[in-house]
């Protein structure tokens, strides 16, 4: 399961792209074009394969002056969902 020290990374073949034709950002993956809501985009922008989940949550809480516990739940749930679909690699979690 995903924890504070988990380091998420987009695997090769999964990448963020701006969708100029329709607006907004998408996650491009094998046979998938996932339209990202603004929150998901803010999360994935911070996923670079070096920072931990806790660091992503801290940064989001600071940037948006929002409740850290709520963000923590939302971010972990979202990242786990992507990992379950093989769209995200998780390392450093036991």
């Amino acid at each position: 399961m995903i924890g504070d020290d988990t380091i998420p990374a987009l695997p090769r073949g999964v990448r963020l792209r701006e969708d100029q034709a329709r607006g907004g950002f998408t996650l491009m993956a094998p046979e998938r074009v996932l339209k990202l809501d603004p929150i998901a985009n803010e999360v994935l922008k911070r996923v670079d394969g070096t920072v931990t989940v806790a660091m992503v949550v801290d940064d989001l809480a600071r940037t948006f002056a929002a409740d850290r516990a709520q963000i923590d739940r939302d971010v972990k749930s979202m990242l786990q969902g992507l990992a379950d679909k093989r769209l995200l690699d998780l390392t450093g979690n036991d």
């Binding site: 695997p11 999964v14 990448r15 792209r17 491009m28 993956a29 094998p30 046979e31 074009v33």
Partner: protein, 369 residues
């Protein structure tokens, strides 16, 4: 007929770069009249098509065939697709790709590799592909793909000869390190229609293969994504073919014809435009062929008043034509179609005599006619 100006841009483009292929699979999705090498678009024209596709709003390009790497310019084309911002997916037989060619494609920015597998047992797989030793060569490529860290999809086409091995196919894909598998029951157009009696699974196989997909989704959760294409002939509702005619994607043939789906050319009264003559944007928005079955105005009953008309769009136009003689009719895969019983009868006839072993099945292999 509808007004194409209001249509959303397509998300995907399937580029049949060539119809040449070392394999002869009897369910090939290419048309029966294959384009010859002499009629293929040149490199510059393909590059223009991909630039136009990106400008039109296409996000993903599927470099397919035939065997797309049979074209000597495949690396140049892949690099160009990345340059114009497209996500590049190689759909390959896996023959003559391993080694330096795959390395060059990966360096050019290839995003994803999809390898067709004709089974998980080599002699059965080679029997279906029509090429001795093909399975082993696919395995070699798959290992190189995952070794490079590229995402691998195993494309498993399901028919009577392998429908009992769905669970094993998923395990096989997991063992290869694939992130995704397509369990795709044969769709009966073109070559597959010619081979329908040899390919049709039994009703029992359809039930057990569906159960195997469900069980595998549980057992391999988080390890592999399973996308399943259900078999039409045993369905109660039709599939929303290609997400609806001219709604989400388009195909370009080796010779440059632009189609809403693989089989669209079987509809004789439609004239499909060519990228040599018109821009992709004009074709997508304004051509009669793409507008022919958009929206719901063209539908007859029982589709017209059906609450699922915006869900499945009446199913597949090509299948409707092939079985009813009318491309605007309800897809016979729908149980509301007056031709539905006929479709079930065809399936039952096809499986009246089942071979003792998959190796005994005789196919009419795909070839240049």
């Amino acid at each position: 007929m509808t007004d194409g100006a209001a249509i959303d841009p397509p998300l995907g483009l399937l580029a049949e770069l060539t119809h040449r292929c070392p394999l002869s699979c009897p369910y090939c999705s290419n048309p029966e009249n294959l384009d010859r090498r002499s009629s293929e678009l040149d490199t510059l024209t393909w590059k223009r098509v991909f630039a136009e596709a990106a400008a039109l709003g296409v996000m993903q390009v599927h470099l397919s065939g035939g065997e797309p790497t049979a074209r000597p310019d495949i690396v140049e084309i892949t690099a160009h697709c990345r340059d114009v911002g497209l996500y590049t997916n190689l759909i390959t037989s896996g023959i003559n790709v391993a080694g330096a060619k795959l390395n060059a494609l990966a360096d050019a920015g290839l995003d994803h590799v999809q390898i067709s597998f004709q089974g998980d047992i080599s002699d059965q797989a080679d029997h279906v592909s029509g090429m001795q030793g093909s399975h082993a060569r696919k395995l070699e490529l798959a290992a190189q793909v995952t070794g490079l860290g590229l995402p691998l999809t195993v494309n498993a086409v399901i028919h009577r000869g392998n429908a009992d091995r769905v669970r094993e196919m998923v395990q096989f894909a997991v063992d290869l390190g694939a992130r995704r598998i397509e369990i795709a029951h044969v769709q009966y157009y073109g070559w597959a229609l010619r081979n329908r009696d040899a390919l049709m699974p039994t009703a029992e196989q359809v039930r057990t293969s569906a159960a195997a997909v469900d069980q595998s989704r549980t057992d391999f959760a988080g390890q592999i994504v399973i996308d399943a294409v259900v078999p039409d002939y045993y369905a109660r509702r039709p599939k929303p073919c290609v997400g609806g005619w001219g709604r989400r994607s388009l195909n370009v043939t080796p010779a440059g014809k632009v189609l809403p789906c693989h089989a669209a050319e079987t509809i004789p009264h439609l004239t499909f435009p060519n990228v040599r003559d018109q821009s992709l944007s004009d074709i997508w928005h304004d051509s009669d062929a793409f507008n022919a079955y958009r929206g719901t105005d063209w539908m007859a009953e029982p589709c017209q008043s059906c609450d699922r008309r915006d869900v499945d769009f009446g199913g597949c136009r090509c299948q409707a034509l092939a079985m009813t003689g009318d491309a605007a009719a309800t897809d016979p895969a729908c149980q509301l179609s007056p031709f539905h019983a006929r479709m079930i009868e065809l399936a039952e006839t096809a499986v009246a005599e089942v071979e003792a072993s998959p190796l005994d099945t005789r196919y009419d292999y795909r070839r240049f006619l």
